[in-house]
């Protein structure tokens, strides 16, 4: 008997991995962007399975909503077409593949060693991820980082406006 937890995890993990591969292999940026939306949507489902309901909602609203709309907007604005392969940076491809496979193998090996198969994830096993709990932690323990974040966003807005403005000379 396979539980719904396992079915949901396997289904959305597969969607996430296939979409992520699609992000890398598609040659047109708009195809990559839409595949990335697929990754973010399936990650939101996985967050729900892990009991992070607020983060799942924020993932859909902030990432799949705001950030990806910004990406698609810039792709359309710049009329970006299929990318041209220039054949430079050959070393990155030569060294990159074996190093990436080694990285993935090492991480997977240590994860399997550190966490035994008995430590499992049940839906409903952790209920501390509601908006109330997040808000409480945000305004007590993490108050200073929260305030610094507002300054960061202000600087980012100013930077974006300065960079994107018309040259006046």
């Amino acid at each position: 008997m396979i539980s719904p937890d396992v079915i949901l995890f396997v289904a959305f993990a597969l969607i996430a991995v296939v979409s992520a591969i699609n992000v890398v292999v598609q040659t047109h940026p708009i195809s990559s962007a839409l595949s990335l939306v697929g990754v973010m949507g399936s990650l939101a489902i996985l967050y729900l399975l892990l009991g992070a309901e607020f983060i799942a909602a924020a993932q859909v609203i902030v990432y799949a909503g705001a950030v990806m709309v910004l990406f698609v907007f810039v792709i359309m604005l710049l009329n970006a077409g299929t990318e041209v392969r220039t054949g430079r940076s050959f070393m990155a491809q030569l060294l990159g593949v074996p190093l990436l496979v080694a990285l993935l193998g090492l991480v997977a090996y240590f994860v399997q060693r550190i966490y035994s198969p008995r430590e499992t994830v049940h839906f409903g096993g952790f209920t501390g991820g509601s908006a109330q709990d997040i808000g409480h932690a945000l305004f007590t323990t993490y108050l200073l980082p929260f305030e610094v974040t507002s300054v960061l966003i202000l600087i980012a807005i100013l930077g974006a406006v300065v960079l994107a403005r018309k040259e006046m000379d």
């Binding site: 937890d5 499992t120 997040i134």
Partner: protein, 102 residues
């Protein structure tokens, strides 16, 4: 099989991160390279949420929240930089944007 081991979530996170690095290394379009960075950030977020579940502590969610905020700010500034690069050089290929190399 009644529950998913926690290592599956962490392995999925590692797979997504490696795919993000692969896109960063192998793609030549500056917008796609930027999207690969977002993919890496998402993979790390999944690790944070998994550790929050494992430790039964909400702090992991807070870190994910801050990563999201920084990613949004980064997307705004990064895409503005991409617009400026395109305005000055009329190309999106990162091999053509190499004036700091020589």
């Amino acid at each position: 099989m009644t529950a998913v081991p926690i290592s599956w979530y962490l392995t999925l996170s590692a797979v997504l991160f490696v795919l993000g690095v692969a896109g960063f290394l192998f793609r030549r379009n500056i917008i796609t390279v930027f999207m690969s960075i977002e993919l890496m950030l998402n993979a790390v977020n999944l690790s944070f949420v998994t550790f929050a579940y494992h430790n039964k502590d909400v702090s992991g969610h807070l870190f994910t929240f801050f990563v999201m905020v920084v990613a949004a700010a980064e997307a705004a500034v990064g895409l503005a930089i991409i617009l400026t690069v395109y305005k000055n050089r009329s190309t999106l290929n990162i091999d053509e944007v190499n004036s700091m190399k020589n």
